[in-house]
Amino acid sequence: MSTTAIDVHAGHHHPKGVLPWIMRWVTTTNHKDIGTMYLVFALSMFFVGGLMAMVIRAELFQPGLQFVDPHFFNQMTTVHALIMIFGAVMPAFAGFANWMVPLMIGAPDMALPRLNNWSFWLLPFATLLLLMTFLFPGGAPASGWTMYPPLVLQTGNAFPFMIFAVHLLGLSSIMAAINIIVTIMNMRAPGMSLMKMPMFAWTWLITAYLMILAMPVLAGAVTMLLTDQFFGTSFFTAGGGGDPVMYQHIFWFFGHPEVYIIILPAFGIVSQVIPTFSRKPLFGYAAMVYATAAIAFLSLIVWAHHMFTVGMPLGGQLFFMLTTMIIAIPTGVKVFNWTATMWRGSMTFETPMLFAVAFLFLFTIGGFSGLMVAIVPADFQYHDSYFVVAHFHYVLVPGAVFGAFAGAYYWLPKWTGHMYDERLGKWHFWLTAVFVNVTFFPQHFLGLAGMPRRIPDYAVQFADFNMISSIGAFGFGLAQLIFVWVVIKCIRGGEKATDQVWEGAEGLEWTVPSPAPHHTFDTPPVIK
């Protein structure tokens, strides 16, 4: 690239012209650039997946078939989940990690910057592969995000594209995880011992190990699906001596740690936000670290609680029920410690804190309904009903997504150099918090009354709660446009942010100027 086409300001290259500008983002190895790309991509996919949710809720607004045919409805539920998990939530937290982990541990960049670039750029292509299947004859995958055989083998032309997309998404996640681990283990500033690291770095370190253990298992499962479909193997085909239930075991060996891959970084963000706005150090830091590690370990041995109804031996049912319930202990430690951090703190309720406190209440509701579905005999009633939909949406939306919003508002001033519009932020929070409950709480009642999940039509007795849920979903979707406006407004200008930004903020990331310069900690700081 010609130097005449570049302005250099504070070490930050501003290429002139469209092509140099594109090439700057394509070839960047800077952790802040890559973090920004992850976050922008995740927000875009949040709206793509959200649009699919709107289609689902529009169809379910009243009984009968209104807008889409059942096959398209199934495509919506399948791709909504895949996009939200692999395209929105995971990349959002990877974006936070890219931006903040090097700043928090005093490193100049990620340990493997070119691998970092590749990790990101696999994502848009993988997502495109998945989304383009909507244009195929027969449409996109429609078997549910779990891709259970034998149903998934009826997918049609979209099948190999889905499998390849999942492989690429998994590869991207594994490379990102490797990079985060080696960065934290090798690039910490002098004096930054592991037990001095901020909780966000800790939760990401543990999450990254989970990703390395879980993502290859998903890749293995879908490779076996591919060979069953195209190469005559019978891993999961009963007619050839295979076992479809084995797919469920393998899938959920990935699938349950995946839940914690999604939620642990949100725990990390909340562990940064609550002490800042309580103006107290995090209560029980060491216990928080050990609780995170315990949750991660337990997540590897509870997978079959997703499939109690397949008919497993009593010993298996008991084992998976009890190990699942034990997860409530380290999770309870975390909820207690966040509450104890706020106890007698000088609390203020700026938008990040509002999202963090709402996370604490609403994630706990998702945790409690998780305990309910963990009870084997009760699960036979809840299984495949809307109760399960309500449960995991409480964990993922007011859990992971609220954690991401808390982090975005918390660090936006550090990223942009401007304070966001607090009034709009509070509007975004309150509308989101109200509508998320209007959307998902009635789904508990629907499930308990017997409404199955993944259906485009339903019996008339479910009409009222479905209508309420759909109204909530439309309100929730519209409220997210406020967030986009807040972010754009914050990038364009606003009150200048100080270096520390928040009165109670502590940590290395608050010692660098706002906005954070393109290159930070070239000379490592010393931690006392």
Partner: protein
């Protein structure tokens, strides 16, 4: 050998040397983690080939 970076008051030469060592160690660690992931991938396909290894 410390896993942490050279201190801020160290010389440029010492810092560069530390950087090289650290990056080499990061590459070795990354390779090992990649092998672990590849092992899980191949291992689960091999397990899949052995029917009846899981309960149920």
């Amino acid at each position: 050998m410390s896993y942490a970076m050279a201190p801020a008051n160290g010389s440029d030469e010492r810092r560069d040397e530390g950087n090289d060592q650290r990056r080499a160690r990061a590459r070795r660690n990354a390779l090992l983690l990649g092998l672990l992931a590849a092992g899980f991938y191949v291992g689960f396909i091999l397990l899949g080939a052995l029917k009846g290894i899981f309960p149920g």
